[in-house]
Each structure stands twice: as C-alpha cells, then as structure tokens.
C-alpha cells in the first residue's frame, strides 16, 4: 500500500488519473496473493503455472469482459452462463453434423450474440429491468438446452478446432493470446471510442444520457449483444478445450464472472469500472483456486477461503480508493 501511496504522493509530476490509481490498488491485491503463494509453495512461481493460471483465467475473462460493459451501463446479465451452455451445444451439433469447425464456431458466436440481442431488446425496448430480463432468459435457455440435450453430451471434435482451446503458439497457450486480444480490444473500445464513452455516460445517468442525444436504446442493445457474443466466444473456447458439450457447461461460471467484474472495481450502479480491472478480478479469483489446489487445501474449506479472500481483495481496494 505504501508503495502506491508514495507514487501518487511523492512524485506529483507523474499524473496518475483516478482510474489508474485505483487499478494500482487492485493490482496490488493480486500481487499480494502472488507473493503469498510464492512463499507458500515452490510450485506457484513457475513459468508453467503462470501460463496455467492465465489460461484458466481466460475462460472467466471472456465471460466477464462482455459482462463488464453491461455492468458499466448499470445493468446485469445473469444469462451468460446459460448462454454458454446453449451456444456450445448448438455449435457442437453443427460441428458434428457438418464436420466444419468454422460453421460450428460461427453458430456458437451467432447463438451467443442472438441471445444477447434478445436481452438487449427486453431491457431497452420493453423496459424490463435487466436483472429480471436476463434471469428469465437464464431459465428459458436452460429449458431449451435441457430439452435439446435430454441429458446427453456431444463430444469429440477435430484436432484443428481443438487448437483454439488447448493449442500453443510460441509456448504460450492460444486462449492466452485470445484473452490478451480481447483485453486490448475491450479496453480500447471502452476507453478510446465514442461508443465506449457513451456507455459510461449511460451508466452514470441514463436520463441525462438520453437527453444529451445518446441513442441509449441502441447502445444498450449493443452491450447486451456484446456480452452474449463474448459468451459465444467462451463457449467455443470451452468446446475446444473440453472436447465436449453438455447442457450445464457454463452454469457454474455466472457468479464468478460477475464477481470478477466487481472485484475489478466496477459498480453495479453503473458508470464505473474497466475491462482491465475485470482482467485483474478474473486473475484474483483464478489465483485463489490455483493456490488452494497447489496447497491441497481441504475441500470443505475451499468455499470459505474463497469467500474471505474475495472480501479481503475488495476491502484492500476500498482502502486504496479512500487514500487516493
């Protein structure tokens, strides 16, 4: 803490924007975890394990990055996990039926995106609170998926396709490249485009945004579509990584994805947060799990430890924010 404090207090010429200062505290939380783990086990700080952590974080990040934009507008998308399930199952079916991973990938992305558009329309046009619209969507998607899959799984995909999930390039897992790509794209989109600025403005005050001439409805549909599409991306990487599709494939990821966004400093009330923050949030959650496995923490204790660390990470961040 004192380190970051010194940077902002002692060297006034380096002007750090508020967002940057907050990011530093968030990174610090992640850093602390890393230091603690390095001390606790030799297995942690190895190239292999770092890549391993990054690859695991990537799946969570795909989901959470789209969700970040939704949360920036003051909304929530509870359907992302269920979206992965349906998108993955349909993509898998198409790959199996046509033998074309490209068509399958397209199906997964299109399904994810279409679900997102439906969410967006419900929120923007029908004025259904996003929590409810996407919670309802979650159930609808589960129903469709369960009905479609009838308790079966689809597995076994072409090796070329599987590279997306399990391949390496220059010794670094492909999903990590994808993650970095989306991290940059997402950050540029949110911070450096007119649409991104408008999304922040909508989250900060939707009424004012509308009266300022921002096409609020279209932007809302855009962010939900984006969130859906990112679930589609996640579903494809899932498929490629797991070599198998089943109905409840992404179910366990919705809450962690939301948690990653919030640990990353976003506010559910909108207007605050960043894609990079979300990346750090996803990293923190993944590190906790990784650490517990490395240290072989008794399974009964794992939820407890996770809960406490999540709270602690956010609390550290709060202190940082108060200081800056």
């Amino acid at each position: 803490m004192s380190l970051a404090g010194d940077i902002s207090a002692g060297t006034p010429r380096i002007h750090l924007s508020k967002d940057m200062q907050q990011l530093i505290y968030r990174l610090l939380a992640a850093g602390l975890l890393c230091v603690a783990l390095s001390v606790a086990t030799d297995a942690f700080f190895t190239t292999n394990n770092i890549l391993n952590v990054l690859r695991q974080a990537s799946l969570l990040f795909f989901l959470a990055s789209g969700l970040t934009l939704v949360i920036l507008t003051g909304g929530l998308d509870l359907s992302v996990g269920a979206n992965i399930g349906l998108s993955a199952c349909l993509a898998a079916t198409v790959i199996k039926a046509t033998g074309s991973p490209a068509l399958g990938t397209l199906t997964g992305l299109a399904t994810g995106c279409a679900i997102g558009v439906c969410n967006g329309l419900m929120v923007a046009k029908l004025r259904i609170p996003s929590f409810i619209a996407t919670y309802g969507m979650l159930w609808v998607l589960h129903g469709l998926t369960y009905y479609y899959m009838a308790g079966e799984t689809i597995h076994g995909f072409p090796p070329g396709f599987r590279q997306i999930g399990s391949g390496y390039f220059l010794g670094i897992p492909i999903p990590v490249y994808l993650m970095i790509g989306f991290l940059i794209a997402g950050t540029v989109f949110a911070q450096r485009t007119v649409w991104g600025q408008q999304i922040y403005a909508i989250g900060a005050n939707p009424v004012a945004a509308r009266l300022t001439g921002i096409p609020v409805d279209r932007r809302l549909i855009l962010v939900y579509a984006f969130s859906g599409a990112m679930a589609g991306v996640a579903s494809i990487v899932f498929l490629a990584r797991l070599n198998s599709a089943e109905g409840d494939i992404g179910e366990a990821m919705t809450l962690p994805a939301i948690a990653a966004v919030l640990i990353g400093g976003a506010s559910l009330f909108g207007g605050v947060g960043s894609v990079f923050g979300t990346f750090v949030g996803a990293l923190i959650l993944t590190l906790v799990l990784n650490g517990m496995n490395l240290l072989a923490v008794n399974s009964s204790w794992q939820p407890l430890v996770t809960g406490v660390i999540v709270i602690f990470a956010v609390w550290l961040d709060m202190i940082g924010r108060k200081r800056s």
Binding site: Q191, T193, V194, Q197, A204, V207, A208, L211, T212, V272
Partner: protein, 512 residues
Amino acid sequence: MATTPRLELAAPPAVPGTPILELKGISKTFPGVKALDDVSFAVWPGEVHMLLGENGAGKSSLMKVLCGAYQADAGEYFHNGEKVEIRSPADARRFGIAVIFQEFSLVPYLDVAQNIFLGREFPSRIPGLLDRRRLYREAQKVLDLIGLEVDPRTKVHQLGVAQQQMVEIGKALSQDARILVMDEPTAALSDRETERLFEVMRQLQAKGVALVYISHRMAEVFALGDRITVLRDGKLVGRALPGETSPDELVRMMVGRNVDMSYPRRFATEPGEVVLETKGLSSSNGIRDIDLKVRAGEIVGLCGLVGSGRTEVARAIFGADAVTAGEVRIFGKQRTGGPDAAAFAGVGLIPESRKAEGLALIRTVSDNLAVAGLPKLFPNMMFSPGKARRSAQELIQRLRIVTPSPNQSVAVLSGGNQQKVVIGKWLAAGTRLFIFDEPTRGIDVGAKSEIFALIDQLVAEGAAVLMISSEQAEIVHVCDRAYVMRGKRIVGELSRADLSEENIVRMGMHDE
C-alpha cells in the same frame, strides 16, 4: 484584488444585542479547494440575513458547516453568546437550526408527509408504531401554511421540481426552528409560490426567527434583507445594510469587477431562416396544439406559470416525449425519432433539472462537457482523452467554470457551475437550436450576464434559441419575442414591442 472596492469590515452595522448564532474563524478545505477561509458570520433573531456570493463562493458550504452537515477544519460556534459544538445535523437541530438545502434532501419513494417529518416521526400509543393519522394531519397543516396543494400521501418522486422545492421548504418550516437557513429556495419557484414563501418568512420574522437567506436574485436581496454578508472565493469580503448599498456595489463585491446587469443585446432586425417550427403539436405529456416558430438569430421566450406546460413543449420538440399529433420541423425537415435524432439535427436541450437530467454526477467535468459533442469532436469515432480535455479546458475558460481541474468530479462543483457545464456540453456539439429550460436557475449575477452574453453570441452567429424562464424580467430583457402558455396551450404571442412583465402575466393568468 486591491482594485476591488471593499466595504468596511471593521464597522458592522448596529446590532440588536447578542446574535442567536455566531460562527468565528471557520475554515474548510476540500481536495483542491479551500471552500471557506477564516469566515465569521452571525445572525440575530428576527432578521433576514442575506448571504451573497458568486457560484462556488462557499455559501452552501458555510451553511452546511453551520448545520453540522460538514465538519469545519477550524472555527468556533456561539449560541446566544455561549460557546457550543455542532458536530452533526442532530446537534444543529437541538439548537433550533433548520435548513432548506440547495440540493434536495428528499426521499423519492416516501410520501410528502413522511418526507416532511423524516427523523421526527410521531410515535403512536402502541410502542414501536407510528401515529399515521397525526402524521398526515400535521403534514396537511404544513402544506396549508406554504400553500402547496398536493395530497400529503403523494410520493415525492411524482412531484415536479417546484413542488419538491415547496416540500423541502415545508420540511424546514415544520421544525419550528429558531434559525432557518434557506439556500436558494426560490430558484425553482414561480412568482406565485415565491410570494407565498415571502409571506411565511415575514410571519416567522415577526415571531423572532432568525433567517439566513441565500439568493442570486438581486431583487429579493433588497425586498427581504435586513443585513447582507458577501463571500468571495471562500473569504468574507463584506457586510452591508440594504439601505446603505446598491445592487452594483454588491455585485462588485461579489465578483470583484463591474458587471452590466442590463444584458444589452442587438435585437434581431431581420430574422433568418426558420429553424424550428411546430404545427398542431401535441404530446404524450399533455400539451395540445402548439404552433410556434423560431428563426435563426432569434431568442424566443416561452413563458407562463408553473404547470402551464413549457417544459413539455421543450421535451416534445426534443423528442424526449412522444408526439401524439402534429409535427416538429427542424430546418424545414420533419423531426422523427428520439432525442438522439434531434441532437443529430442540431437541437440541444438544457433541461430544467440539472442533477437528474443534465449531468452524470459521478463523472468528471471534462467527461460531461464532451458527452454531447462526441460524434462531432471525434468524427472517426475514436475517442481521445487529451483532445476531450483540451476541448473541456476551452469551455471551462469560455464559460468561466470554477473547478480545480477538468478531471474534477462534477458532483462537487457549486450549483451554478454545474449549470454552466450543462450548457457547455452543447457548445461542443455544433448545436444550431438551443432550448433552454430555466437556464439561469441558481446562477450568480456575474455568470448570468455571462450566460446571456453567450446566448447573444450564439444567436449572433446564427443559432436559434427557445428560452423558458420563470423570471419574466429575463424574458423581457433578452427575448426578441415570446409565446405565453396557459393550461398546456399557447395562448398568445408577444412581439418585442409588447414584451413586458404585465403583458406576460395578463395573458398567462387570464381567466384565473
């Protein structure tokens, strides 16, 4: 500041004994701003003490310190000459201090009565429960006192700005305060409510209540004030008695220079092309059959009483409310779609409620100033914070917005400076038709004349302006013509020659 004429600080006007409340040496610093710098202030029973100053001078801050909402960094309190501590609003209440805050402190989903008595609920005979009958009875009394005709069971979010302001007033009055602070209470009110409020103030005064009154309306200062204190940049710059000073002198004290309050402008001799035209416009919000025209180079006023439907006209033109009949033409083209389409066509709306409708409070000054002009500033859709900040910086200078930096959160700006930000954001958007809904609400005299100069400049450059104001004097001073509304319709038009306060009132009140 040596050039500034200063009133004699050392010789305060004759006082009627011990002040009921006295603050000495108050200082208060916010990050980047010294809001109050060694300010002393006293108020005596039965007087109306006017507190004046530019936007951001520290008036509201001083009052918040006075009522315990802010903790002063330094300073002392004396109540009836006795040294006391005021650390919280609860402490202040014990000394009989009540405040009408500039920013509303109402709870939207509680009703009028619950808001008035928030924190002072009446217990019923059954322990733990509330006496609701008494609540509504007492609330009705308060409403009668202030002349607000609404059901005390109405949730306040359903009220308009003016009515909310009246509830806020009722809330403070109901506390039977010995010291009542009123921070720009009339900013949102029309003449009728204002008259009523003044009447109540006179009654309170007669009962020996000490009133502190903050206003940017010079007329009120001289009509009501018994004593005047002026702040500038967080410092006490002068004290005066209304009988011994003049508006010009006060303004000089407040802003440190001469300000021309006559808002001189060259009225449009030959109007340009028709920028806005409505024909038989009716909207989902109740206005009917509105026909009006605004040409380039013109400032057209829209006046009438509160509730006459002016805001609705503005919203319908801007596409914020659905048009149910008739049409709106901008530069001859029929406008369809929502506010985004209107903005694209070159229309800008400066809404009446800056906090709720005008600003993203959690964002910075720079963000807020850029937001309307984004597509214009960044035609290739890529945003550059540097460019946005430079553009903001320019606007900050042009509008003389008081803020430590463009990166300051707009929430902590003074009310007047916030209003300037709302206006400023449309300047970056290349707007050709400006619709101002109460543009000078809560703005200091200096800023007011600047804003009028700005509006004048805008029309001189060929923009068209439709201006709503409850201050008829303003309409009369600056408008080329005006429409008068009553009961959601336009009931008449006044040419420059006929434009007078009497005519506005006569048309607007006609059959009441």
